[in-house]
Structure formats: C-alpha cells, structure tokens
C-alpha cells in the first residue's frame, strides 16, 4: 500500500479533467436531455393540437387563421359530447369491455403463468414458448378467421355473438392473455424457488402459494400486466370495427369515428374532444401506477 502511494506522488500530475468519469457523465446527460426534449416535442405536439382544436368552434377550425391560437374559445364541444347519450354509451361500453377483459385476462394468465413457471410438467417449457409465439401473429390476420368462427358458432347453436359488445370479451383476450402470461412467467421465474418451498413446507397448497405468496410478491408485474391489458382493450380499433356495428354496441374509438363523421362532414372539434376525453382514463391509470409499471417492465426484461 505504502509503496504505491509513494509512486503516485512521484508521478507527474495528471490532467484530471481529461476523460474523467464525471466529464463523460455530463456529456451523456446533455445528449440524453437533447434527445429527450426532441422526443417530448414530437410526442406532445399532436395531443396539444387536439387540445387547442377542442376549444374551437367548427367555423374557426375551417377558417384560415393561425391553427395554434384560439381566437374564440368555447366549451361547446365538451358540453355537447358530455350531454350526448350516444357518447356516454360509447364510453360506458368501452369501460365495461375493458374492465371485464382485464379481469378475464388476469384470471387466465396469472394461474397459467404460475403453472408454466413453477409446476414442472411435461411440455411446460414448450408451452411457455408457444404462448409467446401466438402473440407474434398480427391481429389483422386473425379477424377474418375469428369472424368466420362466430358465424359458424351461431349457425350451430343459434347464439348470435356478432354485433354484441360482449363478443369483444372473447376476442380481446386472444391479444392480452399471451402477452400478460409471458410477462407474469418472467416475473414469477424471478421469485426464488425457496420461497414456494418454504410456503409448501409451511403447509400451503399450490393455490395458497399463488394467492398468498406469489401474487403479493409479484404485484409490480401484475400491475404492469393489468395496465397492458387495459390499454390494449381500451385502444383496440380494428376488432370492434369488424365485430360490432349497431350504435348502442360500439366502443369509444369506433363510436367517435362512426358517429362524428357523417359522409364527408368531419366534426373535427367534437372528434378531437372525444378522443382527448377517451385518452383520459389510461392517462390517469398510468399516472397512478407508473412506478409499478416501470418496475414490472424492467424485472421482466432481465429475468424473462
């Protein structure tokens, strides 16, 4: 120890600024702030434009004035939408579908992930990969065979599912279950094996191990999966467009398009207002659960 200290003192003084850690870090920070700002502008301008437009009358929107300024602010778009039974119906349909889909997804994917991650059975590894592979099939490829399936189903049983909002409760989980199962497998796999062994020795059944140990411990992953399932079902456009047509069965994204675009007349003010209000629920959920969401995603990333 003393030897090296002596040698250090004898050596010529180094230029401390050159290549030092803090200097590298400062530059990394500057660059990251630069790109973050760029990205923030890029992603925030459209919603800002929507917000501005939502406070304008139809006349002002079509007038050739500065689109970034409101000359005659109005709340009429909001008032009209929020007092319109149709819009409230769309909103409720969306909410109902999303809540049910999230519930169904969690009820299927959490036990499935637990079984695939922990109960070693014949073919469990293959099955786990298979679950993920199904997620890779684009949903645009699936709506035709799905539609056909429901037609055949109704021919055989007489139960009509097409053009009922609850058909979406069957369709959406085909998108959400594989991905949520995959997230939860990764999260469950990161829980040390001794924890379930301890629970089993303590006298817990598999089901009790899941509900009393795994679900509480994996709560961040569970919330990440919940947010994902909610976002998918809230924002889904193609499937509801295909499977539902009557106005009272529509969900928000499709409802706005079909009811506020009449022929070639676009009611831009209300479209923007409707879309903004529709974006509010996911935004509120994100804001409250963001910390969990990030924790869940990173855990899945390193241990998947």
């Amino acid at each position: 120890m003393t030897n090296t200290a002596v040698i250090d003192k004898a050596a010529p003084t180094r230029n401390v600024r050159y290549g030092s850690m803090s200097r590298d870090r400062t530059w990394a920070l500057r660059w990251s702030y630069f790109f973050l700002t760029l990205f923030a502008i890029f992603s925030l301008v459209p919603p800002l434009y929507m917000l501005i437009t939502s406070f304008k009358t139809s006349n002002e929107i079509s007038a050739a004035t500065n689109p970034w300024w409101i000359f005659h602010p109005t709340l009429s778009n909001y008032v009209e939408l929020l007092t319109s039974n149709q819009y409230i119906r769309f909103f409720l349909n969306s909410a109902m579908v999303s809540v049910f889909v999230v519930t169904i997804t969690m009820l299927i994917s959490v036990p499935a992930a637990f079984a695939l991650a922990r109960m070693r059975f014949w073919g469990s590894a293959t099955l786990a990969t298979g679950v993920f592979l199904t997620y890779l099939i684009p949903d645009t490829l699936l709506f035709l065979p799905l539609f056909k399936m429901f037609v055949v189903f109704s021919d055989w049983t007489g139960i009509q599912l097409i053009n009922r909002w609850y058909v979406l409760l069957i369709v959406y989980p085909t998108l959400t279950v594989p991905f949520c199962t995959w997230i939860m497998i990764g999260y469950f796999a990161s829980i040390p094996k001794e924890l379930d062994e301890a629970a089993i020795i303590d006298g817990a059944s598999w089901f009790q191990t899941l509900t009393r140990i795994f679900i509480p411990v994996a709560m961040p992953g569970l919330i990440a999966a919940t947010i994902f399932a909610f976002t998918v079902s809230w924002a889904q456009f193609l499937y509801p467009l295909v499977f539902t047509t009557s106005t009272d069965q529509l969900v928000l994204p499709v409802g706005i398009i079909t009811s506020l675009i009449k022929g070639d007349v676009f009611n831009w003010g209300q479209i923007m207002t409707g879309a903004l209000l529709g974006a509010a629920p996911p935004l509120i959920i994100y804001a409250f659960l963001m910390d969990y969401y990030i924790a869940g995603l990173t855990a899945g990333a390193t241990k998947g």
Partner: protein, 366 residues
Amino acid sequence: MADVTLRKVIKRYDEVEAVRGIDLDIADHEFVVLVGPSGCGKSTTLRMIAGLEDITDGDIMIGGDVVNDVPPKDRDIAMVFQNYALYPHMTVAENMSFGLRLKHYPKAEITSRVTEAARMLDITDLIDRKPKQLSGGQRQRVAMGRAIVRNPKVFLFDEPLSNLDAKLRVQMRIEIKKVHQKVRTTTVYVTHDQVEAMTLADRVVVMNHGRIEQIGTPNELYHHPATRFVAGFIGSPAMNFVPARLEEVGGKLHIRLTDRIGFPLPESRAARYQNVARNEKLLLGLRPEHITEANAHLEPGVETFDTVLDVTEPMGMETLIYFTLEGAQICGRVNPNAGARDGGPLRLAVDLNNMHLLNEVTGVVL
C-alpha cells in the same frame, strides 16, 4: 418430536445417481450434521427428508411412519433455507405465523407462540418490520423463528449460515446450539463447513459421492477417521499424508518415509500394524498439531528430524510451518518462539502416538 430413519435411500436424476443408497438412523432430540464437499448429495438427502424431492428407491421414516409419498406439509417438519426464504411482503410476525395461520390455529395461541419464539431469538423489537429492513443475521433468526413456532417433529437446516460473514457465522452457530438445547427438536443440518459440523453436531455424517463415508461424534471422526477422505476433510489445517512403508529393523517395526527419515513405531502402534504387509504402499497421516518443534525432553513415541522450511504463517498464538517431504507439502504447528522462519532450518518432533496409517490404494485407515 421424533426419530428419522433412512433405509437404502437412492436418488437418481436421469443418468446421474446423486444419492447412492444411504442408511441413517437419527435418534429423537439428536442434532445430526450432514457434511461433505459440494455435489456429495447432502442437500439432496435433506430435501428428500423434507419431501421437496421424490426418492427413487428406499424408505424414509419420520417418527416410525414411512413418509415416502407424504407431501411436505403433512410430514410435520420445518426447514431453514440458505437464503432465508422469508416472505418479503409480510412482517416478521406474519412470516413466523404463516404456517399456523394456514392451519387455522386460534389467534391467542399464534400470538403466544410467536412472542415466545421472538423472545428466545431476541427479535422481539423487530416483530413489525419487513424482511428487507433486517440484516442478514436478523433474517436468519426470523427464519429460525418461523421453524420454531411450528413446533415440528424435525428441524431441517440447509446451509443456513453460508450467506453470513465469518464473524456473524460464529455467533449464529452458538445461537443455533442454544436454541437446540432449549427446544430439543430432532435436527438435521447440512453444511459444507467442517468446523460448523464439528461444533454443532451430536453426530456428524460425512458424505462423499452420494455415499456416507463415516458417521460418528465429532471427536470420533477427528481422532479415528475411517477413510482418507474423512481424515483429510475433518480438521483445519488438513491432515498431512506422506508416502511411507513399514520395515523391520533389529526385530522392531519401523516406518520409513525417505531414505534419510524413518522412525521406530511406538509400542502401542507396533502391535496394531504387525500384520500389514511390509511391501504395501502406505500413507502416514499426521495432523499438523502432531508436528511441532523439538524439545530437549522427548516423550515416548515422539521422534525428531531436521528439515528446511518453505513458508511460515504466524497466527499469533502459534505459527504454521510448511515444508516438503517426498514431494508432499507438510503443515506443522509450532510455538511462535520456536525460531521458525521462511527458508530456515528447524528441528521438528513428530508425535507417532497419534499417527494414522492408510492404505494408499484403497484409502482405508488401518
């Protein structure tokens, strides 16, 4: 509380035989330590007793009942894991009472048992904390508390101290011994640390390659090892082994190490080795404490020789010395004032009253 019996227990994973037919009787109240190098099958054996691993063949009995196909929760055992395995979302009290709550014990009973165990382990102040707010030693106490409150027939410990630093390990070792003295539950304890095995056990089971090498009290294993593996594994620094053969000089039995060094055997030993073939390849086993500096006055059976030391390690109360004999590195323990120095000459005394003679080929102690 109960005795544990293993009869010809075998564990096979596909092609690999991890445990190759173990017979073991653990008496009620006994503290038995399974010790051996990694991969010797000790943890697998413990996990089979716990029911976390199926047994391929043989029988395991707890309290006289065969439990081969009984699930872990019905075996009435408690286990302490190497990484503690505390439930991270529960407080210390909830962790300890989890098993009792699953079995729907009355609330008052649970509280009294948890309080009692916490008092015994000195963790009463920590009862409302979460595991992540605890130090390693505290977590280990909670893990033990979780086992104690269940009041099981058998405690199983799977290398519980190997995640702790050296100082804490010694402290917790004493703690575990104290707990066992109080609750007297039959205990099976797995470790790779022979010091832990020696200090804790009523009886030590030394395992190697899926078999039991020897079972005995710590002193039996130390003074009367049955095989070269046990002789070399138990004791630190390890026992020295030097190639040797027996010869007869003037009607008396001698042991010859090198052309230069050979000693007459003491009376007690000579009789024991009389029937060993003179040309057989043997190993002389001597513990470091039986190689010391030569005094003016020699006890019977103590012989001297001169050597040049390679390295010395001053430990304070003693100095470890290393030298080479017939290509083997030999360790001895001498008085710090004996004048041992790196590369220096020293006259050494070997205590042949405590020697072991081993067959070099079979490794069996003669």
